[in-house]
Amino acid sequence: MHIFDDYVKPIRAAIAADPKSGKLYETLSFSERSLQKGFDFKVFNQQVPEKRLLPNLADFANELGLTPNFEQGLGAHPDFSHLKHSETLEDHYIVSMFVDIKGSTNLFKKYTPRTVWIVTNTIQRAAIHTCLIFGGYVHRLQGDGLFVYFGGKNMKPDPAVKRSLQFASVFSYFVKEDLKNIFSEQGIENIYTRIGVDLGYDRDVIWGMAGIGEISEVTTCSLHTSLASKMQSYAMSNGIVIGDNIKKESPELTEFYIPVCHRTQSENDRYIFQIPEERFNYTQYDFNWLSFLKRQDFIATDFLGNLQLKHKAVVMSNRNVANLAPIAAASKPYYDFE
């Protein structure tokens, strides 16, 4: 998928420019080290702007007919921000998602902190941009990852669930496929994601201000927010684990959900949460996001089995009929109807 090509570029460039990958870093004096030409913040911001999608990703948003809202602030979901400094609580459904980006520690073995900074921030910006495209709300940055919400007052739970799964799948594909080569070429263990998603209904979720004064945020108190975080730790590398309520709101996706205990072969992992007295057993599922993604209207699987974005809305300037010829030439049609 080429939608993240523009995000892969600065990562490659930063790695190539890393002094540790060239000269023997240890032989340099401190001042030489700081003189080594690396990336600076300004250059980075030009390459991966904060509030502008890079061209390929912008095409993608255009294709989906979605416009990201860059005017969000952390810890104040626009539909509930009025609760800040108020004594009001509200009951409202929300999809909670924890996106953990793992493996960046390994980068310090090979690169300077400056390079690691570029790499992790580019990945995080790609995550934020993609999340915004799918209408997500970034509630908090967590390490290299994100804590995001999907849904709000102008949307029902089922489209919010679908958007959240689309985001999680597209982003997982980026990390799993697009970033894979960069690090394996360098002999570095791959960076990978682990994602947990769950839905709490109106009756399950309380919105309100947490903290004091300016040390505060508008946040949710919900079993299902906690479970999303917990399920993330059950996910495989580049895996997504979802809760029962997500499954309930997406019956057409049932074939993509497999109870986590089938993978771990341990019945203990079937339920992520139980209240035995109430016979409340809450199942967690592995989400087969790759199959789900392949089935999306905006995705095509090409001749080699790679996923590609389907451009319909934008006229493709880079389309060259000569590139069809190698595939087309293998066909030799006939006609024998009366």
Partner: protein, 235 residues
């Protein structure tokens, strides 16, 4: 009432048996679905065929997306020894003889001789779709842009059959085709060391041996009717 562990075990056994009983088609479809994820199938008992329907997205070698065809593939129950029928449900391809498609949308993927020979060896669903179906639709998109096909095409009807013998089996002309077909369809066996029926003087094993083997798989009737039809054009 909860099922007993014995009942559960029986149930598990039953599922295992059902899985084992998966037909070659069903097993191969799982593989094909990875490459062509927007296709699904049902078994149609009335026509005794697997009916695959859905979307086929076409991308070029650079991975750039071009178009999506709505297609149906009918797979006879004899799979893998069969020739599937492919139809376009969308109407991107003009319904015209020059586009190798019937008014109902049935796609003439290849000359029937090749399809028959392929079915005798047994087809693989994924290869069939990628080598015959995907290429056919990519070629149609090519023609929509360039007004011609990227590779070759067969002439219609009998001319296409003659073309098949000349191009695929490297026979000089209609007389050579007739000589060849007469020999193959006659009762006498053609030995590997006998002179080749094409008449160029070489031993068969150094000449048309593999063509003869392929042609034999097409069946006596097919060869006889080709022989008759082509002979008539010489008179």
């Amino acid at each position: 009432m909860l099922p007993t562990s014995r009942q559960l075990r029986l149930q598990v056994n039953l599922i295992m048996i059902l899985n084992k009983k998966k037909s070659p088609f069903e097993r191969d479809f799982i593989v094909a679905k990875e490459r062509f994820p927007k296709l699904t199938y049902v078994w149609n008992a009335k026509i005794m065929m697997w009916v695959i329907t859905g979307e086929l997205d076409i991308c070029d070698v650079e991975g750039v997306y071009w178009n999506t065809f709505q297609i149906t593939i009918l797979v006879p129950r004899g799979y893998p020894y069969c020739v599937p029928i492919v139809a376009e449900k969308s109407t991107i391809i003009p319904r015209d003889i020059e586009w190798h498609i019937s008014p109902e949308g049935i796609c003439c993927l290849d000359i029937s001789h090749n399809l028959k020979a392929m079915s005798k060896l047994g087809i693989d669903l994924t290869s069939f779709i990628s080598e015959k179906v995907y290429t056919y639709f990519a070629n149609q998109l090519y023609k929509l842009e360039k007004n011609k096909y990227a590779g070759g095409e067969y002439a219609h009807h009998l001319d296409g059959v003659i073309q098949y013998y000349i191009e695929t089996h490297q026979l000089q002309d209609k007389r050579a085709i007739v000589a060849m077909l007469q020999q193959i369809t006659s009762k006498t066996n053609i030995g590997r060391n006998d002179p080749c029926p094409c008449g160029n003087g070489k031993k068969t094993k150094h000449c048309h041996q593999s063509s003869i083997d392929t042609l034999k798989t097409l069946g006596h009737e097919r060869l006889l009717s080709d022989l008759k039809n082509i002979s008539e054009t010489i008179k």
